[in-house]
């Protein structure tokens, strides 16, 4: 007894020596938020580490913005705890938190110039005037708006306002920068360009970003890690690759990119090798979890992971007929009807320009579908 106590004690000691490095910057522990009968955020756990660019991804009403507002301090959790740098935030009002937020529509003060907007936060900290103006100049240089100091927000374009909002939040050097749909108000071209700017800036300043977005492409490009949210819960958390290639849930597979979802039944589970039958044949997965034989689940197959070719007499694989074609220029999307009337989506790169119209796949062509068994995704029910 005595012995074990001593070991646990020393473990705590060694742990404490390293906690600045290993301890998460942000810890969300069992946080829920209820508005009356409605549960916006449902028992969420999450750790975010220093330097991450973390995305909360989900459709409207999934609870992502509520979670962000709880981090900023505008809402209080109904239960659970939020810790930043190990400090409990529950009694800390927004104006005392080491976080800053970039608001969805930027929330720039219309009665103040760009300069005043950015200086506002620093003035609240009681910094000296010279220090404030120096910091303001530096941050304006970072977002390349030195020449717009004296303008009011109304006199700026959407992209410029976005950068002022970013600068205003960043200039306070927060431990955590919260961004609520940072790019939603920009048009498509500008949005793509700004994505990279945002990443560059984060790289330069090294501040931890938590971004809320409904745009899956944006989340994939920007983030180091993504949490996919639905109905107030985290469905899956992981790197963009993990989320895309190894979704663990039907919702995630469908929400990020697109997928053919097949009903499957487990026929055997021997030594971590799971065999599943579907109407497209057998799939096997390495899986350590205990999935009972006979249980039903889904198998996901992404359209771009299926290859399509004109069927020849020798073709042994799955045969189908082209029902519909969507031509996107770089790729084409085929809807292939199988013998059992099921439809399978297939995406193919248009690598070559067809020399002859006859070479082009067209409606009612008989085609052969094939895929690498390892690209199938096991999705639990």
């Amino acid at each position: 007894m005595v012995n074990s106590k001593a070991t646990s004690g020393s473990a705590a000691l060694t742990g404490s020596n390293e906690f600045s490095r290993d301890r998460p910057l942000l810890e969300i522990k069992g946080v829920s938020k209820k508005f009356g009968d409605f549960t916006a955020v449902n028992n969420v756990d999450l750790d975010i580490y220093q330097g991450e660019l973390f995305c909360l991804l989900g459709g409207s009403g999934c609870g992502k913005t509520t979670l962000l507002r709880m981090l900023a301090g505008f809402e209080n959790p109904s239960s659970g705890q939020i810790l930043i740098d190990g400090q409990d935030m529950s009694e800390v009002p927004p104006y005392k938190r080491p976080t800053n937020m970039m608001f969805q529509n930027y929330a720039l003060f219309p009665h103040m110039t760009v300069e005043k907007n950015i200086a506002f936060g620093l003035e609240q900290d009681g910094l000296a005037k010279t220090e404030i103006s120096e910091k303001v100049d530096n941050i304006l240089k970072l977002v390349e708006l030195q020449d717009y100091k004296k303008r009011r927000p109304q006199q700026l374009s959407g992209g410029q306002r976005q950068r002022v909002a970013l600068a205003r939040a960043l200039v306070k050097e927060p431990k955590l920068l919260l961004l609520d749909e940072p790019l939603a108000a920009l048009d498509k071209k500008l949005r793509e360009q700004t994505q990279f700017e945002l990443m560059n800036i984060q790289d330069k300043v090294g501040v931890t970003f938590v971004v809320v977005t409904h745009d899956q492409e944006e989340a994939m490009t920007l983030s180091t890690r993504i949490a996919v949210m639905d109905k107030g819960r985290f469905i899956q958390t992981g790197t963009p690759t993990e989320i895309y290639e190894y979704p663990n849930d039907r919702f995630v597979a469908d929400f990020i990119g697109s997928a053919n979802i097949l009903d499957g039944e487990v026929v055997s589970n021997i030594e971590g090798k799971v065999e599943v039958t579907t109407y497209l044949g057998k799939f096997s997965f390495k899986n350590t979890s205990n999935i009972a034989k006979g249980s039903t689940l889904y198998v996901g197959l992404r359209p771009e992971k299926i290859s399509i070719s004109r069927a020849t007499s020798k073709s042994k694989n799955i045969i189908g007929y082209i029902d519909d074609i969507g031509y996107f220029g770089n790729t084409s999307r085929y809807k292939v009807r199988l013998d059992n009337d099921q439809i399978i989506d297939v995406t193919a790169q248009n690598q070559k320009r067809p020399k002859d119209e006859k070479d082009r796949l067209t409606y009612e062509d008989k085609v052969n579908l094939s895929w690498d068994n390892s690209s199938a995704m096991l999705l639990l029910k």
Partner: protein
Amino acid sequence: MSSVKKEKKPSTDLRYYISLSADKLQSKWKTIVIFIPFAWLLLFFLTPFFIVAKISLAELVITSPPFSKMIEWVDGSVITIRLVFDNFIYIFDDPLYARTYLNSVKIALVSTFLALLIGYPIAYAIVRSKPVTKQLLLFAIILPFWTSFLLRVYAWMGLLADQGTINNILIYLGITETPIRLLYTEFAVYIGIVYTYLPFMILPLYANMEKLDSSLNEAAADLGSGPINTFFKITLPLSMPGIIAGSLLVFIPATGEYVIPDLLGGGNVQMIGRQLYNEFARNIDWPVASAVAIVLLLLLVLPMAIYQHYQAKAAEVK
């Protein structure tokens, strides 16, 4: 071990807690912000109201103030509450009051309808104007509202009098030889109410119609609906909230109107607001005046509630 745990807490412990209590102080100002206007309205709006309700149940006595006390201490220990419904019975028994109430409602209803008839096309015309013209026209509609109500009514006295402008013109044109009696008639009261309350009708209508999507009209036209059909099937039903708001804003004050029936109706048009004022000022019968007020209020509770309901709904939509 214990030393490690201490390190976990923020080093600025004491300062942290002091600042927390400062926050508590900051949250107290919220209470003050609510309390000041709340107390004012409680004292000067709600309390007077209950006193009126109370006095309407009191007897007239010849003292100052001229009403009996409702709650009295008898033998220093027993409270007797005397409720006297005589004032209400008196109002209901006397056909004069019943007629006056009915007449008030009738005049208010007719004027509201007339104001709607005139106000609706005006509001619609403003909505259909170009942006700059729209601003100017709105200004033009609101401007009379900023000038004196009393003087706007007075202006009509000059128009409607026996030797007034209208009669002068009629005589000059040879339509009539002797002046037509216009002033001190019900007709004059209608004109007065419509004239003074027209902005109250136009503005809610405008606010409502301005929000309607013009593509709805285009869609109706595209589907083969003519302009008149489109108006009755699309525009009119969609502008219903504006019609209700505008109508209530005219009807409610018109029912209790005092100045217009007094100045333009003379002694010939009986309306309840005027009756109440007379009861209080000439007869000095405050209990009856209070009872008249309570009945008038009961009459208007429903329209007021409807108005509130629509306002709340409009606020929610925003």
